[in-house]
Assembly symmetry: C2
Homo-oligomer: 106 residues x 2
DNA sequence: CTCATTGGTAAGTGAGTACTAACGGTAAGT
DNA sequence: ACTTACCGTTAGTACTCACTTACCAATGAG
């Protein structure tokens, strides 16, 4: 679904971010992702499930192996939320600075 | 300190995001933030503490009231992390498309 | 067919955390 | 001085979640 709620929850975990970092260089099977990480392979499978439901990764079957790769959809939802919030926050912040500077002119 | 780690953890909670939404329109005291939220005022105080440590909000004293406002610093750290990841992910994605299309030329 | 490889799933456990209730501390009003 | 309003902090509790250990299904090699 790639809604912001799931993306936030998915990106909160350090291990899941490490998984994404490893997929940044290209698609990899589950075993290769798990190798080098301080957790077991089943744990990685569970993390991949969460990342997939968040729209951050997708997978394809290749024989007995499942190749995972990054899905730009989830990151797009995240950027959209952040950009919208960023803009409105900055305008509100600027408006506040304006108001407080006008208070000096009495 | 506004490192990405704390920002992720802070933004994960729905109540804290609701607090930020309320501060988006401008600075507010704690009581006014808590009013309308489905949690008690002390809970809001704890959330504000987390948001402040993440660099997402800041506060000033005004008599007996503490006025909280959004601090662009934390959102900046978030955007930096996301933009960096976004760029490298897209280039890796493009490189992969390149590779898979070359495999067709045998 | 047999066996090894790969990976998703279920159950159980431990740690982190969001919440409420109670308290203390400070500033303004009477 | 007394009271009221506003807010942060502490202690305790309930719940979520990341992890491991077992187990099972599917594919490929011999």
């Amino acid at each position: 679904m790639a809604n912001a709620e799931r993306v936030f929850a998915a990106l909160n975990d350090p291990t899941r971010r490490a998984v994404l970092e490893r997929l940044r260089d290209g698609p990899r099977p589950v075993g290769e992702i798990a190798r080098g990480l301080p957790v077991t392979r089943p744990a990685v499978s569970q993390h991949l499930k969460v990342l997939k439901e968040a729209g951050l990764v997708d997978d394809r079957s290749e024989g007995t192996r499942r190749i995972y790769h990054i899905d730009p959809k989830g990151l797009g939802a995240m950027r959209a939320w952040l950009d919208q919030f960023w803009n409105s926050a900055l305008t509100a912040f600027a408006a506040e600075v304006e108001r407080s500077s006008k208070k000096e002119d009495k």
